[in-house]
Symmetry: C2
Subunit: 307 residues, 2 copies
């Protein structure tokens, strides 16, 4: 049994490779929900959706999120009606959010709604939100505090991030199954996602970080920083502006209290000693996921390094 802590696009690609080499039924995914937001009155869970769409092979391959070939008729009409439409919800995508919103309004938990949606898309993994409670990432920029999606999508990550907090995190409880999936796993993998705003909120849910420290399973992470740069998104700038090191070593340092193994890219082979000095075993391999073969190879290399 493998449990994967997952953000959005990077995590989804890794998971897509993983289920090519292991039975999806043996994989539990704990997804970040601190990016969740309401748009047009719909509850959108961007990271969970990216995982579902990618595992269901319906994801837009260019963007890495959304549904391939989707149209924007409803959104364009909403714009004519004066609604805020900077978050690009496609027509097919809206069907997902309508379903989730309907289930939540009907009294289901986010866990239940997520499980229902994943099943409808034929996802074979177990997909758990990190929590059923409301947690929202809030980012401090020069202009003050803004929501994560305001920062990430609307303002295109142009602001320097001066602080991050997870609103609601103190009262958040791990969703049912989350702690057990960590403590009873054969292996735990932290996907190559932003350590601060994708993995960070998951680790901040009370009980999860401790479970990672306590689990007898090997806890591995794949560095999302290669050659000092994030493969996607603003993780490198964010690490720097928040006084971390934008490197595989910096990532290892953030996870050092529970991490057994860091998978880092060939390009960063020279950092292996730094990582091992933190008490974290380093495994160097190709980590760039360009296609199905490289995704699969990364999953295989990670599993081999764990075993």
């Amino acid at each position: 049994m493998i449990t994967v802590l997952a953000g959005g696009v990077g995590a989804a690609k890794f998971l897509r490779g993983l289920v090519d080499v292991v039975d999806p039924a043996t994989v539990t995914v704990i997804g970040n929900t601190a990016d969740d937001e309401e748009f047009l009155g719909l509850h959108v869970s961007p990271d969970l959706d990216t995982v579902v769409y990618t595992l269901a092979d319906v994801v837009d391959p260019e963007a890495g999120w959304g549904i391939a070939g989707d149209t924007y008729t409803a959104l364009e009409q909403a714009e004519r009606l004066g609604e805020e439409v900077w978050f690009r919800l496609g027509d097919k995508d809206i069907a997902t959010h309508l379903l989730r919103t309907r289930l939540l309004r009907g009294g289901q938990t986010l866990s239940q709604a997520t499980s229902a949606i994943a099943a409808k898309f034929g996802v074979g993994c177990k997909l758990l939100p990190m929590t059923d409670d409301r947690v929202r990432t809030v980012v401090t920029t020069a202009g003050g505090e803004i929501s994560f999606q305001e920062y990430f999508v609307h303002r295109r990550q142009q602001d320097e991030v001066r602080a991050i907090r997870f609103d609601g995190i103190d009262k958040a409880r791990p969703a049912p199954g989350v702690i057990d999936s960590i403590t009873q796993a054969g292996a735990v993998i932290i996907a190559p996602s932003n350590p601060l705003v994708s993995i960070g909120p998951i680790l901040a849910v009370p009980g999860i970080r401790q479970a990672l420290a306590d689990t007898p399973a090997t806890v591995a992470a794949i560095s999302p920083i290669v050659g000092g740069r994030a493969l996607k998104g603003p993780a490198d700038r964010m690490l720097t502006s928040l006084h971390h090191e934008a490197s595989a070593t910096g990532v290892a340092r953030l996870y050092a209290d529970f991490l057994d193994l860091l998978v880092l890219d060939d390009e960063d082979a020279a950092l292996a000693d730094q990582v091992e000095a933190l008490g974290v075993r380093a495994h160097v391999t190709g980590t760039i996921m360009r296609d199905a073969a490289s995704r699969r190879a990364l999953a295989e290399a990670t599993l081999k390094a764990i075993s």
Copy 2:
């Protein structure tokens, strides 16, 4: 100032003609909301939307409802996700329902949401729901009680209607402005809509029927039954199965306690005496609205008969 009691397609066509011959700002529309229903978790107000879309000249001219050239991408996806999709919500149409649902969830009344939506579509009339309270038409068929939309859309009006009731009507209050718009109108017009399930719920809201009886304004109706048949929908069969007469006379009888004038079609000229025997003045003219010119002509003839 003219106040029009309106159902869906027939009323919308009449109103579209009316605003060609009078300033829309002088027209108040009281719309039926007992057909409202939740689909995909969205609050849909079919009759209000038909009025808005028709007055905004975006209505699908073939169907008489929905938005011209709309697509069904979200709905088709919702069907793949196992949702009930017999109520055909188009992608553009969904933007309306998303907006309404968002406003209602945010605490606005249906009056406020309706006013906002009408304004965004550039509708110049004042559009009022009959009530801000929840009223739902329930139809008794051989199989038992079903919702109006279940009967009307899903089962395509194939069932014989044995009874009609308006769930919630006892506690419903007329929406703000409704009673004043009747008592202070220069004229009140009952649009050519189904007298039982479109106009019937409006009349059943406590206070409205009495206001129609009390108003000093002339109260006119246009018969939706021509030659014993409904121009659209099941009104004729419904009148018969509920022991009314499927004729202009039958319509006049349903409204006789407050009606001053019935506009009936040339084809029904022979019924004028019957109508007048009920104490209702009869005015015979062409009532079939085939195009813009005939819609306008009906509005003109109605106004002339009133004055």
